[in-house]
């Protein structure tokens, strides 16, 4: 019995301390109180809003999603007409936002890495140019940059009719104030085979890469993975294109009536937004990249040189992997910023989510609470998804410590 008492000595101790003074119990009580208060806050906020909306005679609910939108949208990646529903208009806006964000992230990363490396260059001109780029672009507000690209650069281009184009004559490339016109690739029967060939080539590249790595580990022999992969990606679809009897044709734009007709067009609003977002965010990414590379101690490269690695391999195998773990967390913030900053599109008339859904739909339906809540929820979801992806990426490049 004495032994048993000895075993439960801990329990005996806590009995002696009153519940009021037990830090654990007090912590639990206060946390429970806080949760109740937060739930009450949300509950009273929601019921209060519903009550006031009903009292003010403002329609509420989400029924409007099924109604006919009745307005047109200048740029859409999914079929949309004015007979489509508000729900579809919402998806058009969402897609427009996501497209500009994803392409913007791609270009911002590319430019950012190049400028970041250029800032570390030993070439005086390259290094100074990169410094001027970073200091100029990151210190001017983004909205001003967007207005600059839209109003000062793209708006002053000539209109198609003033640009000396002959009506009906097809042009390959044309940049005017209605957009950048390029030939559109029109697929015909059998064209999907080219796409399949491309996918096979990409998968092949990855597999060859894995095989080559394994072989190098085992035998020390190297294999030209990049050149082989590039060859696959270029020639496999090309062979498919020739074998299937060239099922692709090009459609060119031409001036007809008021505007250019046909071809593939990138609208000036999209161009201005993409330019502004990419160049602005790239200036921050450049600094992040520079910081990441400088964070890798010089001894690491010296050690790599001592082992006989060439400079190219040194940076690819030693410096960059170690820099990545410093780069990725702040890089994630920049990606999130870029996505959220894309809502400035409303200032230059790009039909993004805020413009279509938080603007036109809100105004046509008058249901501010619902529309704004959904818009906020969408940005939250986009940010959390980006964050989750980057966290996964981060853990995959994190330093494995043994």
């Amino acid at each position: 019995m004495a032994h048993q008492e000895g075993v439960s000595a801990d329990a005996g101790d806590s009995e002696r301390v009153s519940l009021m003074n037990d830090p654990k119990a007090r912590g639990l009580v206060f946390q429970a109180l806080l949760i109740i208060a937060v739930i009450y806050l949300v509950y009273s906020g929601v019921t209060n809003a519903i009550d006031n909306l009903a009292r003010a005679g403002i329609a509420s609910g989400f029924g409007f999603f099924g109604e006919r939108a009745g307005f047109d949208i200048g740029q859409s990646f999914i079929p949309y007409t004015n007979d489509s529903t508000y729900l579809r208009a919402f998806f058009v806006g969402l897609l427009n936002t996501m497209v500009v964000a994803i392409i913007g992230i791609f270009f911002a990363t590319m430019i950012g890495f190049i400028v970041g490396l250029a800032r570390l260059s030993k070439n005086y001109l390259v290094q100074k140019f990169a410094t001027v780029y970073v200091e100029t672009l990151r210190n001017i507000p983004l909205l001003l940059q967007l207005l600059f690209w839209y109003k000062a650069v793209l708006s002053i281009l000539p209109s198609p009719r003033a640009g000396g184009l002959e009506p009906g004559v097809e042009v390959v490339f044309n940049l005017n104030n209605r957009g950048l016109y390029m030939p559109r690739i029109v697929p015909e029967g059998g064209a999907q085979l080219i796409l399949y060939a491309f996918i096979v080539a990409v998968v092949g590249w990855i597999l060859i890469g894995r095989w080559a790595k394994k072989r190098q580990m085992a035998t020390g022999q190297q294999f030209p993975v990049f050149l082989t992969g590039l060859g696959l990606v270029i020639f496999l679809p090309l062979i498919a294109f020739l074998v299937t009897g060239m099922p692709l044709s090009l459609e060119y734009a031409s001036l007809q009536g008021f505007n250019m007709v046909g071809g593939w067009v990138i609208q000036p609003e999209f161009m201005a937004l993409l330019l502004g977002l990419s160049l602005y965010t790239a200036s921050f990414i450049a600094e992040i990249v520079r910081a990441g590379i400088l964070a890798v101690s010089h001894g690491q490269s010296e050690a790599a040189f001592a082992l006989g690695l060439r400079p190219n391999l040194t940076s690819r195998l030693v410096v960059v992997p170690q820099a990545m773990r410093v780069i990725i967390p702040p890089l994630t913030s920049q990606y999130l910023n870029l996505t959220k900053n894309s809502s400035l599109a409303v200032a230059i008339g790009y039909p993004d989510l805020v413009s279509i859904f938080g603007g036109t739909v809100l105004n046509q339906t008058g249901q501010a609470v619902e529309v704004i809540s959904i818009t906020m929820l969408v940005y939250l979801t986009l940010s959390l998804l980006t964050s989750a992806f980057m966290n996964w990426f981060n853990s995959s490049v994190a330093l494995v410590e043994r």
């Binding site: 007090r26 912590g27 206060f30 946390q31 109180l33 806080l34 208060a37 937060v38 009450y40 806050l41 009273s44 906020g45 209060n48 009550d51 006031n52 909306l53 009292r55 003010a56 005679g57 403002i58 329609a59 009745g70 307005f71 047109d72 949208i73 200048g74 004015n82 109003k151 708006s155 002053i156 000539p158 209109s159 009719r161 003033a162 104030n177 209605r178 007809q256 009536g257 008021f258 505007n259 007709v261 000036p268 609003e269 409303v346 200032a347 230059i348 008339g349 039909p351 413009s355 603007g359 036109t360 809100l362 105004n363 046509q364 339906t365 008058g366 501010a368």
Partner: protein, 340 residues
């Protein structure tokens, strides 16, 4: 640590109870208490609501604000203006940020019934039109198929445009902006072939373009656009005041009372004139304001005809004819119930 949690709980509860305040109903009491009328206007549409050379707001819609201030306070200058985009306007009124919204706003059924708002009347009968460059060689809206069209978001214009092109089997490419100035700039930069909004707006906007003479308004009017002041639903007293400010201006024009002769008219023996000027009856008191309410409006702001001429008429750069906005007795649509 526990103290921090405790204070967080207290803070959160305090915020929760603050959030539970109800929307107030008596706008007139609020307005009297703060001493001015908060008026929602456009961000600058010459003739309707725009700052003039001296920096004061003026225009047909602004004169509704001034009229309400004159009726309530006897002082037409007791107004503060909130410039609003088309998108912001209804939310600003619903939330109580402004007391009334005379902002060239089209009276439609859904706005009247679903937004918790009421239109008090029509102070300008308008219709939607198109403006193009003369160099396009277009003389009818039916030739506009394939054009890029600049339009402001959150307007009936955006919907009428869609309907019109659809009904006539034409296509177009919309370029949509939130702010009026952005639409103007885009059209001026030739981003679009066509500018569409209410015809009165087109005349006003044309004057602000870099070369007004190179542009023309097409003859087609594609919609009915009755523009009028808006107030919150559920406050009948305030609704009546705003409604009767407009009616008083029309009745005054009908009776020939102007800002110039209103003092003289005080001696008139005509019972109609005596009633409107508050010499007979207690019409102002019925609305909770002074009986000299209409006198103050006419004296300080003017009758509807004067207001129209001053802001839009032949003497202004806009030079818009009265047309359908003439009095009913002169072949127009402006008609007011009698003060009796």
């Amino acid at each position: 640590m526990n103290n921090k949690i405790l204070s967080a709980v207290v803070g959160v509860t305090a915020v929760a109870s603050l959030g539970a305040t109800a929307a107030s109903a008596a706008t007139l009491d609020d307005v009297k208490a703060k001493g001015f009328v908060q008026c929602g206007v456009s961000t600058g549409l010459a003739g309707f609501s725009a700052p003039n050379d001296a920096g004061d707001w003026s225009g047909l819609d602004v004169d509704i604000c001034r009229g309400v201030a004159a009726a309530v306070f006897g002082d037409a200058t007791a107004v503060k203006y909130s410039p609003l985009s088309a998108k912001e306007r209804f939310t600003a009124l619903q939330s109580g940020e402004i007391d009334l919204l005379p902002r060239n706003t089209t009276w439609t059924m859904s706005r009247d019934t679903q937004l918790g708002l009421n239109f008090t009347g029509v102070n300008y009968y308008d219709g939607q039109g198109f403006m193009v460059r003369k160099s396009l060689g277009v003389n009818s809206a039916l030739q506009l198929s394939g054009a890029s069209v600049c339009v402001q978001t959150g307007t009936t214009t955006e919907l009428n445009l869609t309907d019109y092109f659809k009904a006539n089997g034409m296509t177009y490419n919309p370029v949509v902006f939130e702010k009026l100035e952005e639409v103007n700039a885009a059209y001026d930069a030739n981003r679009c072939d066509v500018y569409t909004t209410d015809q009165s707006g087109l005349y006003s906007i044309r004057l602000g373009l870099s070369a007004p003479d190179e542009h023309m308004v097409l003859p087609e009017v594609i919609s009915k656009e009755p523009l009028g002041p808006v107030v919150r639903q559920g406050d009948d007293q305030w609704f009546s005041i705003v409604k009767w400010v407009h009616f008083a201006m029309i009745n005054a024009e009908e009776m020939g009372i102007t800002s110039a002769n209103v003092d003289e008219m005080m001696n008139s023996e005509d019972p109609n004139v005596k009633r409107i000027l508050g010499k007979e009856g207690t019409f102002g008191e019925g609305m909770g304001i002074g009986n000299d309410w209409a006198y103050n409006i006419i004296k300080q702001v003017g009758n509807y005809g004067e207001v129209f001429e001053r802001n839009l008429g032949a003497s202004t750069p806009l030079g818009i004819a009265r047309g359908v906005n003439a009095l009913w007795s002169k072949g127009g649509l402006q008609y007011a119930p009698p003060i009796r």
